[in-house]
Symmetry: C3
Subunit: 326 residues, 3 copies
């Protein structure tokens, strides 16, 4: 593809020779002729001067002479479009349901959807169009998967929620008669498990992207266009709004409400509702600026303790001085 | 089923018309005629007045006129019985070992046990009666599974424990020649992995319920009727007593002893034995009441720091005053 | 095997009757005649006097009369050699690719490698010699696995990295066109997921041992002979050196550098580079000795708060005294 055509495809301003042929993308520090790279993080700006790439996608404020530039407001987004333009998405080695997948006869699978070997699709499951079910995914009965969804290897959708009624110290299984509903354009990482609701539906909203080894408890409702990063666990009956991000290893207690446009930092423990949009971090989760101060002081607790000791000594001295003065 | 019959089945006192027909269960805020719901959490008591359910299971202290009541000491337990009475447990679409499961010929599988497609059952594995092995479960050779056990999709039982002898900076694999023994009435969530013992048996006691994506290290012994919630990790050779609960994302170090009737709060880090019954929380795990105070002060460390600064200023002033006085 | 022969095989000094027959290994507190056991941890030294074992492997400083000893500098290493000598590693019930595995025709699998039922090996995957792919492992296209690697049940290698370009609040999938390269002698635990790189390769270095349910993000490079313990999560583009240990449930942020011979304690949160060899712990990760003091003070924050209150009262008193003095 000519560089000029690529510039048009990714909606960037071209500075340099548009006739150059671009065949693929590469990283800034390890590209060769025929590749386009990108600079989105100022940390790597030195690599721009020595890159072997034939062109580099950059932000509006960057100018260099050694290599043709594709200038755009959002270089990362533009680069992602370049990857799509030059490489496209995975080509599947078959179409439809692979004969080595197991799909119950009462399940329905939309046109353009592929189901890989080893996947299990239970009774009355409905999967929309153009979705991808990778190898060894398990989808329990009655779950609903939308259009253009991607479920990666080994994910388990709709296993029984962790529901027991305890009596005299023993735990009696409560039938989980609900299901899981995954709306359109959702991606689910490998090893993630999403529990079916006790009574109604566990819901993953349209456009939400869930990373690997995430746990979603029963009856949880996640809104649209959220990012749920690796090893997050959300306990039962919690509701998450739209455009919310939970970073890696975050734990969220059950029966909580997390609002729209909330971001929770990695490893945080959320034990209370977080209704206001904003960034939170820490355990218990606090507004980010506050959490920064808390963890900074925490890391220097020995210093704080020393200051208290010194104060005690000085106050002791002052008190001892007292009588002398009097 | 008539409401009067349901009342009898779940051992509740009926207040209202016993002739009403009940077909299914529903949530308090979203039920319709023919459904029975429940109120176990006072937080939702307002929903009782507007529920569309034909009857509601409630505790002894609750009385309303707008809907027939099933009164019982433990509404949650009674509701779970109602779900069993009205809906029952999952009906499997086949019986015995599904032809798409893979069971080594030396394995033995008890009457009434079902093994779903894609499950792997290794050499000499023994599974008891009326157990359920869901799709894509992997059970390594020589493991023993009891009666009425449930193992959810993608769980892996009996993979090698993480045992290496390190020498000159390299790690040499130690054959893990033990197995895993899962006693009767155990449920294991999707994606959970339980390592085989180095020499003897990793044991999960009767009636213990393990949630999804839990890690059980080699040689661990878990007692009876425990609850091990999602993403808990228990390191090798630790012993857990009976009726103990580990909440979500708890980590337990190796070679420890956790006693009977211990509850450890979510995300806690257990680095020492917890032998006394009681509730613990935090990292390092502390008695719950103490942990509450610790985390409350922790969240207000900037305030504590400010008080120290003020003390320093005042002591400075007092010290400075000193010479003037003298 | 005669005890004298075993002593030679494990390179230990024999004290006692070398003609004794040894058939297997057993734990110190539960061995019988014909078994060899070991003592590596002084905590268990009392068991040495009452062991039923026919011989015990011990360190240089241990001497007892009641049982023949195999004396060595590193009893744990010697015991691991004894297990190999007496029991060996798992014998597979078949050789090569099991007919119930699914291997794309363009994949290549080296001599001596076994692929268990239910495993999926994608297009152009290359697996070296004498490796073991356990049941229901998923390996996406173009990944490379070395010689003598072991990948346990349900692990997923090479699923798409979590890469999205967000625009107007929606997240657009970036094709992940790289792969995963696993060098020789790597072991990967059950349920672990390793993401393919966005552009190049996610790399696991030679001899590194990864435990169960570990998350490795895209573009991560892990060096040689590392230990990555259960439920660790390493975010994208982070580099880990050689001979480094990350203990259970550690989280490492993205784009960081962790050096050689670094050890990070369980549950720590690594948010900054850790380039110097040494032991770190806590959140944020700190040098171990410092972390110990921090967490010790943390656990006693109520005491610290009390001391501040007392100081305030005394300073108040001193200040109040002031005017009286003047």
């Amino acid at each position: 593809m000519k560089l000029s055509e690529l510039a048009e495809r990714i909606d960037a301003e071209l500075i340099g020779d548009g006739a150059i042929e671009i065949a693929s993308v590469g990283p800034l520090d390890n590209s060769r002729a025929g590749q386009v790279s990108f600079l989105a993080n100022a940390k790597y700006i030195k690599q721009l001067e020595t890159t072997g790439a034939s062109a580099v996608i950059v932000g509006k404020s960057v100018r260099v002479d050694n290599v043709p530039l594709l200038v755009t407001r959002d270089p990362y987004l533009a680069f992602s479009k370049a990857i799509v333009a030059l490489h496209g998405y995975r080509q599947h080695p078959f179409s439809g349901v692979h004969p080595k997948a197991f799909v119950e006869p009462t399940a329905s699978i939309g046109a353009g959807t592929v189901v890989y070997p080893g996947a299990y699709v239970g009774h009355r499951v409905a999967i929309g169009r153009d979705s991808i079910i990778y190898p060894n995914v398990v989808i329990y009965e009655d779950c609903v998967i939308g259009d253009r969804c991607i479920i990666h290897g080994g994910a388990v959708i709709g296993a029984d929620g962790y529901g027991f009624a305890s009596s005299s110290g023993e735990h009696h299984k409560i039938p989980q008669i609900g299901n899981v509903v995954i709306e359109d354009d959702v991606e689910i990482g490998p090893g993630t498990t999403i529990s079916r609701a006790a009574l109604e539906s566990t819901v993953i909203g349209k456009g939400t992207k869930i990373d690997q080894q995430v746990v979603i408890g029963h009856n949880v409702k996640i809104g649209q266009h959220c990012l749920i990063v690796a090893q997050v666990a959300i306990a039962g009956s919690t509701t998450v709004g739209h455009h919310t991000t939970l970073a890696g290893q975050v734990g969220v207690a059950g029966h909580l409400t997390i609002g729209d446009k909330v971001t929770v930092g990695a490893q945080s423990g959320v034990m209370h509702d977080l209704e206001e949009p904003g960034i939170y971090a820490g355990t218990p989760a606090m507004p980010f600026a506050h959490a920064r101060r808390v963890y900074s002081i925490f890391s220097e607790l020995p210093e704080l303790q020393k200051r208290i000791k010194e104060l005690e000594a000085r106050v002791e001295e002052l008190t001892a001085d007292g009588p002398e003065i009097v």
